[in-house]
């Protein structure tokens, strides 16, 4: 204990004790990553291969084909000509200003991260909605994931897996997955009790209730969660570029360190354009699936 008066100075832990804790934890984690790093890396091998393959696919395909595919996806999801033309213009501008390749890289990582987040987040959200105990365990974890500065959990990920695509994806997923989990849980909990009761009364088992009633009725809320997840993944792209994720984040990082204002602005705008496209398309799609709500008060 410090010898100062505890009324004027906080009775803090001794420096040497603190050092022991830090060294102990760091040492243990280093030990862990040294002995298991390789195994864990191998576990992520298929993911890495997929990432590389998908990125190459996007980068190497002819630009007009990519634009055609994206526009047809946008149109079939939203049935809106206006939106499709907007997307077309956005991608043309991105290409024209020389950011095509980076945009494709970002697109590929965002796509993969979103898919992982959905694939993991929705089941976790369903579990959470089914038990209050589960909810009380997971909620604080989500709070930590969302508020902990991203740099803090980049450190152990990098220690474990080095820099590259996989740690980038992990960091982005950790940051972006909470909304989809939270809103899946919320959406299912908000499903009209009487409708659910009706399903039960007609002899629906829990699977039939989940897929026939709960998920479809929670879909608008879940879609809002997915939308948020995509937005957060895009926001994380710049930070992830610090650990070697290629894409629009890297030029932004470069322009911060070298004070290239225009470079930063252009790439920043490209990220904004992607965000707007994702947001509008997923929202329009969500709305279109809710056409039965049209006349509901």
């Amino acid at each position: 204990m410090s010898k100062g008066n505890w009324l004027t100075e906080f009775p803090q832990m001794d420096r040497s004790d603190l050092l022991v804790i830090r060294k102990g934890l760091d040492g243990a984690y280093k030990e862990f990553s040294r002995s298991y790093g390789e195994i864990i890396e191998n576990l992520f091998e298929p993911l890495l291969r997929f990432l590389v393959w998908f990125e190459k696919l996007l980068v190497n395909s002819p630009w007009w084909l990519i634009i055609a595919v994206i526009c047809s996806i946008v149109y079939s999801a939203t049935r809106s000509v206006k939106l499709t033309v907007g997307v077309l213009i956005a991608f043309f501008l991105i290409g024209y200003f020389g950011m095509w390749e980076n945009t494709m890289r970002t697109l590929s990582i965002i796509f993969v991260c979103t898919m992982i987040s959905i694939a993991m987040g929705i089941p976790i959200g369903i579990m959470m909605s089914r038990s209050n105990r589960m909810q009380s365990i997971i909620t604080p974890m989500l709070d930590i994931m969302q508020t902990m500065p991203a740099f803090v959990y980049l450190i152990p990920v990098v220690m474990l897996l080095g820099i590259g695509k996989v740690p980038g994806v992990i960091a982005v997923v950790i940051y972006a997955i909470p909304p989809v989990i939270r809103l899946t849980n919320l959406g299912i909990r908000l499903v009209d009790k009487e409708v659910l009761e009706a399903a039960t009364a007609y002899g629906a088992n829990s699977t039939q209730r989940l897929f026939g009633v709960q998920l479809p009725l929670a879909l608008p809320t879940i879609m809002a969660g997915i939308n948020q997840t995509i937005m957060m993944a895009l926001a994380m792209v710049v930070i992830a570029s610090m650990i070697g994720v290629k894409g629009l984040g890297q030029p932004v990082l470069k322009s911060i360190t070298n004070q290239y204002f225009t470079l930063g602005l252009f790439n920043g705008l490209a990220i904004v354009a992607l965000a707007i496209v994702f947001d509008r398309v997923s929202q329009a799609y969500g709305k279109r699936t809710q056409k039965h709500m049209e006349r509901a008060q």
Binding site: E194, A198, Y202, G203, P216, M293
Partner: protein, 392 residues
Amino acid sequence: MIEPLIRIEGLYKVFGVAPKKAMSMVKDGVPKDDILAQTGHTVGLKDINLDIQKGQIYVIMGLSGSGKSTLIRHLNRLIDPTEGKIIVDGEDVMKLGQKDLEQFRRHRMSMVFQRFGLMPHRTVIENVAYGLTVQGMNKKDRLAKAGEWIETVGLRGYENQYPSQLSGGQQQRVGLARALCTDADILLMDEAFSALDPLIRSEMQDQLIELQEKLHKTIVFITHDLDEALRLGDRIAILKDGELVQEGAPADILLHPATDYVEAFVKDVNRARALTVETVMKPPAHRITKGTIAEALQQMKTFSSDYGYYCTDEGYQGFLLQSTLEEAVKLDGSKAIQDDLFEDLPPISPDTVLEEIIPDSMGANYPLPVVDKEGDLQGNLPRSSLAEVLSN
């Protein structure tokens, strides 16, 4: 007595963290409020015993908080009781495992909900077919069947609409069609018409009665509206604070309320609309059976009254007045009684509601003859007894 289709025996429901603990207090007859104050447990239902016969419309009535919705949810075990038995067709529902319970719900009982409980993301026809979907029937068959029921409830043309595009009455028709579509023999209706406008409500009641005449389901109907209960029910059970106060035929409850609570309840009922002629008529009297005018006059004099109802083997024929007979006997006493001797007095049927015969009764100076479908004289309805029942 025939074995009831549904029998509820000693049913208790206590809501709370440890309901078993509060049960002893409930059984000792500690009042509900005291139990809540001391243990934090709410008594939902207390010692309910009911027999529901096949083919009946059984109405369970009570105000909000009386436990009626809790009770109906015990029948298909949407709520599990704290204690007690529910026996359907000889089978104890409480002993069913999860899988059997699902089968039981799919095939034996279907339910109509107060706020309809329709699935907003499915079209009308998909909603109606929902029970069959759960059963695993293939799409073509179930849509065909659902289509027939949609037609029966009068919603043809709305098949591909979504529930939110329909009015309340139409939505509840969808709910009804969904319930009928599974061919379950027991129909649970939880305040099914309570959320509807009065006009639509009575329309739906008519439709239910009409359907029931064809289908002969066993219907358990929950309501807080006594008029509705009297209109639909073959039997009525009245719940108060989770306890059964009275159980009986509608006229029974109306004419002989068991407690002050029931009496207060039935006070405001429009009796003229709730009671039928049968419940207030007097047993048959003044029956003239002799064939000739002279004999008939003789017979009438033995009643010490100046009128009589002429009946033959073929049933009720007409109404005779002493004065008419006296006139006729002067001409020819041995003549048989002919139609031209009858007075104009409309016969009424025993299952007509009183309201409909008030004008006839008021216009007649003599008790109206009550004649059943076979044409037999069942009794008569004097103006005085009608007035007595209606004025109470």
